[in-house]
Amino acid sequence: MEALVKLSFYCFAAASIAFSASAVSYLAYAVGRVRLRQTALATSAGTTYVTRSAALEPGWTGAGRFGTMLAWFGVVFQGVSIALRTAAAGHLPLSNMYEFSSSFIFLMGLVYLLFERSYGVRQLGAVVLPITVGMIVYVWSLPVGLREVNALIPALQNRPLMTAHVSLAILAYAAFAVAFAAAVLYLVAVRRSVAWLPSPELLDDLGYRAVTVGFPAMALVLILGSVWAYQAWGTYWNWDPKETAALFTWLVYGVYLHTRSLRGWRGNRSAVVLLVGFAAVIFTYYGNYFFGGLHAYGGV
């Protein structure tokens, strides 16, 4: 078992390198190249004026393709890491912040790549992959003891519900990360005339599509969490901080969907709600650090 856990960690290390390199490539692709121009003007009086200007130009398309390839490498390595850890533990790695974050890294990469493939938008990677790298840095910063595989504590000994509830939470967060990235790029695209960014309409639609994945997944997280709470604690809703934080997140995205479908909000306002929504995701994700309550075991 120890060998599997070690191998799983090495795969995670490989995925870390691949995702980091991918983030750099995507950034190079999305930000573009800065071209400095210098113009010298000679006047009839013999004076020479020199003007300098900087202009952004489209990035090397190869960097984008390279980013995609590296992101796929990262997803595959991380997938293998998770598979090995699953084999070692006998359950999906979802029981502490090391495992949860590792799975989040995997699903965030995968969900992003599926959206990239569906919409043909590589620039999105310049936002999603740095978030992935941030998550990787966080995982590396966690106590080494969390990398060991331990038997599940009694509260988590419900594998079907743990797998469904926690996996869906990760899927929802991953989809919301993609929606966040689309919102960020939208706000950049409409404020700066960066011609090679995707059209704002496409980014707006992409953000919405990502939420249509995340919102039902989050609804299922709340429902399955309630079912699990009922089995474990005898009540399907405890007003536990982590529960209510997830409810808060769901309500924010509920506001997003209702303002969009019933009030016709598009563009800037919708993008801002998506930013608030992702802030709620981060708040819920790291809530274990400052929440007490029934989910405290999930912390570090």
Partner: protein
């Protein structure tokens, strides 16, 4: 020429009765999307405030800005989720969901499903963000038939209407998905109903403590009592708990009706009453008699309190009404790492500290001194003989009966089903006109009803490609800037 006087708008308003006006205002209030969104936002804010209350955040705020300490204290004291503002917002939102989200929208949605407007205008087609046009040598009715066949092949419902020699087309797909909003919104109300039903007709005992070998009555009119036959807790090598298990016997009116095991995540069920493993602790078995030999207590007492002088020392309180005494029982310090000054009693293993206190204002004793008792020995405490028989374990169960659960399950299925239908089967709509071309033959123009909807426009592109392939006619596409005039999308 006879003049007909028509009442002016203010005159009409004046004729309306007060109840009419009130109902109308309330109806508008609950149908307002803007207000509903504000209600969700305020509810979200209250949820956030309640969530943070359960965290260390308010304390951090108070530490950083001492002036805010009184406010933070009030924040900690405010039980948001059981407060009036929260209940009011839940109530308002529920009514808004029922009226504005369902009842008010139902006719419009049904109209769009069953009787959509077919006719359109050339101006509408011109101003659409995207359009596809094709020409054919055939007359308009033949081209319209072929278009209809092509759209039906793409699983679209097609409605046509002839106007001034032109054939107007309306085609849509997934029209019944518009109904998905109803199960979703109804589910939100049903979840609240489930909670109310559970609270009104069910019960929940959060700390039902049963020591090993003892029987405790459940109450709540169930006639049930529970005996704990055995409790066991197991641990991993690193000290993490592996499992907690209570072997229980359930008695109904004193008769054994079920034996079973309750562990965390696997509760024991009898009928519709469920027993959940919640906690455990130490218990002490005592036999207490008075000076005449009358038995006042012969049972286990769970040490489910802690000593006021040492929070690491488990304690129990036994009330003895006949003697008007309550006996505090304090166990040795459970934290061996504590310094001696943290454990003023300094009790050794196998001993208990008995501290008698008066029960009620007319108790026979004052602050009598405590006595240290040893296991297997009898101690005299305030005129009582307290025999410390042995130590045992107790289990702490949560017991509940919740008739709202079936409602909650149905609501959950409706919620997820409604969302899935709404999001993954979007209502796609197309309008068009087939008209005679000036040079002979006919021309058809179709547009999607997809204002600023990139996915719908992509679906339209796919659809127009399918039509082109099926009809074998060249199709010209046009895409205008997204911010087209509002009139372009005011229909449909």
């Amino acid at each position: 020429m006879a003049q007909v006087s028509t009442p002016t708008a203010p005159a009409r308003r004046a004729r309306r009765s007060l109840p009419d006006l009130v109902v109308d205002r309330l109806w508008r209030f609950f149908c307002s999307v803007r207000i509903a969104i504000w209600e969700i936002a305020i509810l979200a804010l209250l949820v956030l405030i309640g969530t943070l209350r359960g965290s260390s955040v308010p304390q951090t705020v108070a530490d950083a800005v001492p002036a805010l300490a009184p406010l933070v204290e009030r924040w900690y004291a405010w039980d948001v989720f059981h407060s009036l503002p929260f209940m009011v917002m839940l109530g308002l939102l529920s009514v808004a969901i029922a009226i504005g989200g369902m009842i008010n929208r139902a006719p419009g949605i049904w109209q769009a499903i069953a009787h959509p407007t077919v006719a359109t205008t050339h101006g509408f087609l011109r101003n659409a963000e995207a359009s596809a046009t094709l020409a054919a040598p055939a007359p308009p009715d033949v081209l319209a038939d072929r278009m209809t066949d092509a759209l039906r092949a793409a699983h679209y419902r097609v409605l046509t209407e002839e106007r001034n020699g032109e054939i107007h087309l309306y085609a849509d797909r997934f029209r019944f998905a518009k109904l998905g909003t109803f199960p979703f919104h109804l589910a939100l109300i049903l979840i609240l109903v489930g909670g109310i039903v559970g609270a009104r007709w069910g019960f929940r005992e959060t700390e039902f403590i049963v020591p090993e070998g003892s029987v405790r009555g459940l109450g709540y009119g169930t006639g049930l009592s529970v005996r704990l036959d055995n409790f066991s807790d197991t641990y991993q090598e690193n000290g993490q708990p592996r499992g907690f298990r209570s072997d229980l016997t359930i008695l109904e009116d004193g008769e054994e009706v079920k034996r079973g095991v309750a562990t965390v995540n696997r509760p024991l069920t009898f009928g519709d009453t469920v027993f959940y493993q919640s906690g455990f602790g130490q218990a002490v078995v005592l036999r207490i008699t008075d000076a005449r030999g009358q038995v006042l207590w012969d049972d286990a007492a769970p040490l489910d309190f802690v000593s006021s002088v040492n929070p690491d020392a488990p304690a129990a309180v036994i009330e003895l009404p006949p003697a008007k005494i309550k006996l505090h029982v304090i166990a040795p310090d459970s934290n061996r790492g504590n310094a001696p000054e943290q454990d003023p009693l300094g009790l050794a293993s196998g001993t208990m500290y008995f501290l008698p206190r008066p029960l009620g204002p007319d108790g026979p004793i004052g602050d009598a001194p405590g006595v240290v008792g040893r296991v297997g020995e009898v101690s005299e405490v305030a005129g009582l003989n307290v025999e410390f028989l042995r130590e045992r374990r107790f289990t702490s169960l949560q017991v509940g009966r919740n008739p709202g659960i079936p409602i909650f399950v149905v609501a959950s299925l409706m919620l997820v089903g409604g969302l899935a239908v709404t999001f993954y089967f979007p209502h796609r709509r197309v309008r068009g006109i087939v008209a005679a071309a000036p040079g002979g033959g006919s021309a058809a123009t179709i547009v999607p009803l997809a204002r600023r909807d990139w996915s719908a426009q992509r679906a339209f592109d796919r659809l127009s490609g399918e039509i082109e392939a099926r009809l074998g006619l060249p199709l010209s596409r046009r895409r205008s800037p997204a911010e087209g005039p509002a009139s372009a999308t005011s229909r449909g």
